[in-house]
């Protein structure tokens, strides 16, 4: 009998510390499956973020490194310049990539570094207690916007993917979601393309993944997925951006 499905080699068989209904578990697994399928596990170096996924290297079974908050893309740039044969990716939340790390993100993208970025967007700062993030929606209640985000005082949700798409050196940006099995499959496909682009030396590739945070959205896991489907995608439309 042929074995057609098994636990990814690139994913350790351990329980994670994530909250019930968190999207990180799914995203970690998709990345592990893609890395196995592309047979690049020996060449991979991941850069972990600061945030709930700060310990992602405890869950993946390939080489990983840490970086200061927001600086993952600079660390990745340094590694890729020295070791271009390695496949190097960053895994970053919306705080890491689009708040404290905005500078590093824009300039790495603008230089067109041949890197893969997996951007996990859950519209809050998770690990630090649910504060407003650049991607928080208008009207969304967070620890620092208890009355809901207002344009007059907090501005609009930041569409970092759309901003980066304007840079000529950026080669691939797609926004996907985890709110249904179909969307999870599409996310995997996009992640695979983002890694293939690096292998084929096409250039800077990013996948923005809309991900549930039941704890800080004050929703049940199921309600959180529905909120992405019904509310979040209206502000952050899915599909190919570049």
């Amino acid at each position: 009998m042929e074995k057609i499905f098994s636990h990814p080699k690139s994913l350790r068989k351990v329980s994670t510390h994530y909250c019930p209904g968190c999207g990180h578990g799914i995203a970690h697994r998709l990345i592990a499956e893609v890395i196995d399928e592309l047979e690049i596990r020996e060449r991979i170096i991941a850069v972990a973020p600061v945030g709930c996924a700060v310990l992602a290297y405890d869950y993946w079974d390939f080489d990983c490194t840490e970086a200061a908050h927001g600086r993952a893309l600079s660390v990745a740039t340094g590694m890729k310049r020295i070791r271009p044969e390695n496949i190097i990716f960053t895994y970053q939340g919306d705080g890491d990539l689009a708040a404290i790390g905005t500078n590093e993100t824009i300039h790495t993208a603008n230089r067109g570094e041949n890197l893969t970025v997996i951007f996990i967007n859950n519209a809050v700062y998770g690990m630090t207690g649910g504060q407003m993030a650049p991607t928080t929606l208008l009207g969304q209640k967070t620890a620092t916007t208890p009355a809901g985000r207002k344009v007059a005082s907090e501005g609009y949700p930041l569409k970092i993917s759309e901003l980066l798409a304007q840079l000529p050196a950026v080669k691939f940006i797609e926004r996907t979601s985890l709110h249904s099995p179909q969307e999870v499959i599409k996310t995997k496909r996009a992640i695979k393309e983002a890694f293939e682009n690096q292998i084929n030396q096409i250039g800077f590739s990013m996948v923005e993944v809309l991900s549930p945070c039941p704890t800080y959205w004050n929703l049940s896991p199921k309600q959180a997925l529905d909120w992405i489907r019904d509310v979040m995608v209206k502000e952050f439309p899915l599909g190919r951006i570049k």
Partner: protein
């Protein structure tokens, strides 16, 4: 005479580990001791291990960090594995036997009582931490129980004053366990 007491308290997030440490620190402070309380949080938003370090001293404390503790209060099994090597050789291990199995025997002192079960019997699982405080002050005799009651009462949020009663009951139960009836 200079007296320094270093306590590490560890357990699962949600067992009231931080409050346990704060109560000890607040009580000792009311008895004119120098105190420090240093909480440590993991990356987890829910669950995980929580621990805090409390130092009670008759002189100013240079650093709130504890390398080896004089007393270790362990409220769940994973914390025992994580912290057993943070107890000094002649230290005291206070363990929540409801959730902790002690297999290896060491030279350190051992006090084990079923804090969680006792709290459940009293009517609220969340006061297991106060049963542990009672055992601690009764064994160590370094803080008066009345001062602990005062600390608990002072620390209670305005909208939760009704809970002081069961916290006090848990404290007295812990003391009773050590002193006998």
């Amino acid at each position: 005479m200079i007296m320094v007491e270093k306590v590490i308290i560890a357990g699962a997030g949600g067992q009231g580990i931080m409050v346990l440490g704060r109560v000890l620190a607040e009580a000792a402070m009311r008895e004119n001791k120098f105190v420090t309380w240093l909480p440590a949080y993991g990356a987890e938003v829910r669950g995980g291990t929580a621990y805090c370090m409390v130092i009670i001293s008759t002189q100013e404390i240079g650093s709130p960090f504890i390398d080896k503790a004089d007393t270790l209060i362990i409220m769940n099994q994973p914390s025992l594995g994580k912290f057993k090597n943070r107890l000094s050789k002649k230290g005291l291990l206070i363990a929540n036997s409801s959730l902790v199995k002690i297999t290896a025997q060491t030279k350190s002192g051992l006090l084990k009582q079923p804090f969680t079960d006792i709290a459940v019997d009293l009517g609220n699982i969340k006061v297991a931490n106060m049963v542990a405080v009672g055992c601690y002050v009764a064994s160590k005799k370094n803080i008066h129980p009345e001062t602990v009651v005062k600390a608990i009462t002072d620390m209670a949020p305005k909208d939760k004053l009704a809970l002081v009663k069961i916290n006090k009951q848990a404290l007295l139960k812990g003391i009773e366990l050590v002193r006998g009836k």
